[in-house]
């Protein structure tokens, strides 16, 4: 996936296809995303971190 596309997804929870090439669904919270994809199988869910912050949990 191109960086420009990922930039539009920052701060969102995203469900990708199994090969990670396609965005199947997105939402502002994990709870909302899981409701949207409750009938889907084997998607990969990922939180897209804000681009302007490094990650040090």
């Amino acid at each position: 996936m191109k960086l420009e596309e990922l930039l539009k997804l920052q701060n969102k929870w995203v469900a990708f296809s199994k090969d990670r090439k396609k965005v199947v669904e997105k939402a502002s919270s994990l709870e909302d995303l899981l409701k949207k994809i409750k009938n889907e199988k084997d998607l990969i869910v990922s939180f897209i971190h804000p681009a302007d912050k490094f990650l040090s949990p």
């Binding site: 960086l3 994990l30 899981l34 889907e40 084997d42 990969i44 869910v45 939180f47 681009a51 949990p57």
Partner: protein, 142 residues
């Protein structure tokens, strides 16, 4: 011994001054969660975090499988910024590329980044290789 290798996942970074965007590669492992015999249909990318003492997952993930989060044992955890987070410990099963890991995880509403920590994840493997040059994590099962 069986190995599974996870190449770092490309994410996006942005320079605050110039606005220029760049690639940030992060060690994330897709994990399938199971609680009380309810197995998640989806996988969630979890950060492989050698700095994390324990596994820390978003509460919403557990709730989607029927977990009563607040019934777990209350624990407190602290991030690098010193912020204290309340979490609740539960017994879980994790599936990593089909390999079953019986362990515990702490669930919280206060952290968006699912973390795989040393106690409860990394200690379940015979060997772990982190190759920062080639950007992969290799887990070796017993």
């Amino acid at each position: 011994m069986k190995d599974v290798t996870f190449f770092y996942i490309p994410e996006v970074g942005q320079d605050l001054t110039t606005g220029k965007i760049f690639e940030v590669l992060r060690p994330k492992i897709p994990v399938r969660l199971s609680v009380n015999h309810n197995v998640s249909k989806i996988l969630v990318d979890c950060l492989f975090d050698t700095g994390a003492d324990r596994n820390l997952f978003p509460a919403a993930w557990g709730r989607s499988l029927g977990l009563k989060i607040e019934k777990g044992e209350l624990v407190k955890t602290m991030g690098i910024g010193g912020k204290e987070i309340k979490a609740y410990t539960h017994k879980v099963v994790l599936f990593v590329q089909g390999h079953k890991i019986i362990t515990e995880a702490d669930f919280t509403d206060e952290n968006n980044t699912p973390l795989l920590g040393r106690d409860g994840f990394m200690d379940k493997f015979e060997d772990i290789v982190i190759n920062e040059k080639k950007k992969f994590v290799r887990l070796s099962f017993i």
